[in-house]
Amino acid sequence: MSFQVEITPENKVYGKTPLLTDNVMHYCPGCSHGTIHKLVAEVIEEMGLQDKTIGVSPVGCSVFAYNYIHIDWIQAAHGRACAVATAAKRLTPEKMVFTYQGDGDLSAIGTAESIHACNRGENIVVIYVNNAIYGMTGGQMAPTTLLGMKTATSPAGREAAIHGYPYKIAEIVSMLDGVCYVTRQSVQSPAAARKAKKALRQAFENAMAGKGLSFVEMVSSCNSGWKQSPVDANKWMEENMFPFYKLGDIKVATEPKEA
């Protein structure tokens, strides 16, 4: 028995956005970055912002984000993406400027740049991928690593007395007046990815409307760093990460920031 598939606009259910390049992604199978990249590319395409968008990639696994989305990119020094994005947006305010950063980049080495860009209310979007580990360097402890979690630099599990506590930078930046939107999302299921995409769209719209900084955290798995299968890693994330990093909107400013 054979099926003949007729490709017509009516029966097309999915197509890759032309903004995603055909480059084979360097991410590990099971990694969340690929899905998040796709969502970002789709939002840019749907909003018609390809020629207006400048992405700022970090140091970490997503350093090569510029290989995967057909927009202009600036690759920033480790932790400095928000400073780089600040200048790009201030000097070209008609542009859509976003940073794409991991938890090591944004919440460890880049804490100062991130917090102050938030506090100045730069009209940019910060996409913060939190998988509680340093993936690129081989699975070391991050500021977001959960207590008890084993990593290359906390081989016995993270102990508060030695390493301090995991921290929630999304909640911290939500207290700053320059920030208009803080949300925590995930992409481990089609339903979660749809919600995450909606959040990204909201954030991009905020930036173009000049409402201040929008901060979108993506709680993600790192099956390689966590030393689990992709399926197990997602399950572990749901059972361990989500209770600590609770999903949903943290701040939605109803009033525009005061001039």
Binding site: Q50, D51, K52, T53, I54, V56, V63, Y66, H70, I71, D72, W73, I74, Q75, A76, A77, R80, A83, V84, A85, T86, A87, A88, R90, L91, T92, K95, A112, E113, H116
Partner: protein, 359 residues
């Protein structure tokens, strides 16, 4: 009628920034250069030329804002003093690696560490040799007057865009803080959007359009064979700059038997010492490098063939003297004379050094 102002060197940098068509300044307060940011905030250029001024949370952030602005094809700059410039080291390496044009002003103070807020020239090595990791160079301009602190903003941007390279203006607390007359003959508007596009669309992040592939600003390359090629490309550019951009100034060199080589504020003091030596019948000339990199190596080589010795006064423990020695290559004696920690020599001090050595 030409516009003339009596201002500090640091204020001249701010005035020069606005009048040179600078698009963005990003800085953090540090003595003895805080007047640059203060003056800009006072003058509010965002209301006149549209220039952006941001007080950053640190020098680390300042230099990375410069990186972001330069990536967008804009004329951007920062200024700081020695400890702050140390914090910018990583960013300067990225700027050089990604071939981004920008201007960085260092109004030097004495070190090491927190050191002193008093003037010094102890960052010569940092500016011309060991700025940060990796093989790279910056063009380094050394102003010796308030006028030059104004003019070097223009020259700095011109050179930065001519070669897509970071340019450093290496000034110090003497020139930054002293007041002199500045003639503001040079003025020009900011580039229009069309001009930016014309100048930089081939490489800058102006937004990907149908007419070209995406532009990516990066210094990263994991393939060693390609990375070596990138390094070779940078080095070839540096050789071109060495051949074309050496700037220096000479006085009383025709019959000179001894040469004083001094830059920046030291050259001002040395110039008076040379006059004293001439009045005493000594045949002494002054060579003032204006670009510290590229260095006037060739000219010093030539002079070494016909003079009896070189004196290199610097407000440090002996830094530029190494480049003079490399150029002289043992042909004649080279003496260093320095003060440190914010202490400054007088013309008499340099004159005495000349008398003691030149005989």
């Amino acid at each position: 009628m030409e516009e003339i102002k009596l201002i500090k060197g640091n204020e001249a940098v701010a005035e020069g920034a606005i009048r040179s068509g600078c698009d963005g300044y990003f800085g953090y307060p540090i003595t003895p250069q805080s007047e640059v940011l203060e003056t800009l905030m006072e003058l509010r250029p965002w209301e006149s030329t549209g220039m952006v001024v941001v007080q950053a949370e640190s020098e680390v952030s300042s230099i990375n804002m410069v990186y972001g602005g330069a990536a967008c094809g804009k004329r951007v700059m920062t200024s700081s003093s020695s400890p702050g410039v140390s914090l910018m080291a990583e960013g300067l390496s990225y700027l050089a690696g990604a071939e981004l044009p920008c201007l960085v002003v260092n109004v030097q103070r004495g070190g090491p560490g927190l050191g002193t807020i008093q003037p010094s020239q102890a960052d010569y090595f940092q500016a011309v040799k060991g700025t940060a990791h990796g093989d790279f160079k910056m063009i380094v301009l050394a102003p010796n007057s308030v006028q030059e602190m104004y003019d070097h903003v223009f020259d700095g941007f011109d050179l930065a865009f001519k070669y897509r390279i970071p340019v450093m203006m290496l000034s110090d607390g003497i020139i930054g803080q002293m007041m002199e007359k500045v003639v503001m003959t040079r003025q020009r508007p900011r580039w229009t959007k069309e001009e930016v596009s014309q100048i930089s669309d081939s490489w800058a992040t102006l937004g990907k359009h149908a007419g070209r592939e995406k532009n990516v600003i990066t210094s990263l390359e994991l393939d060693s064979q390609i990375m070596e090629k990138r390094n070779e490309h940078l080095q070839a550019k540096y050789r071109k700059i060495e051949a074309a951009e050496v700037r220096f100034e000479e006085s009383q060199m025709e019959d000179a038997e001894y040469v004083v080589v001094a830059f920046g504020s030291s050259a001002r003091i040395a110039s008076e010492a040379v006059s004293m030596a001439r009045a005493a019948g000594m045949k002494v000339g002054l060579l003032r490098p204006i670009t510290l990199w590229p260095f006037p190596t060739k000219r010093i080589e030539e002079l070494a063939g016909r003079v009896k010795g070189f004196l290199v006064p610097e407000l440090n423990a002996g830094q530029m003297v190494e480049d003079v020695r490399l150029a002289v290559n043992g042909k004649v004696p080279v003496w260093h004379y320095g003060r440190m920690g914010g202490m400054i020599y007088s013309p008499e001090d340099i004159f005495n050094e000349l008398k003691n050595n030149a005989r």
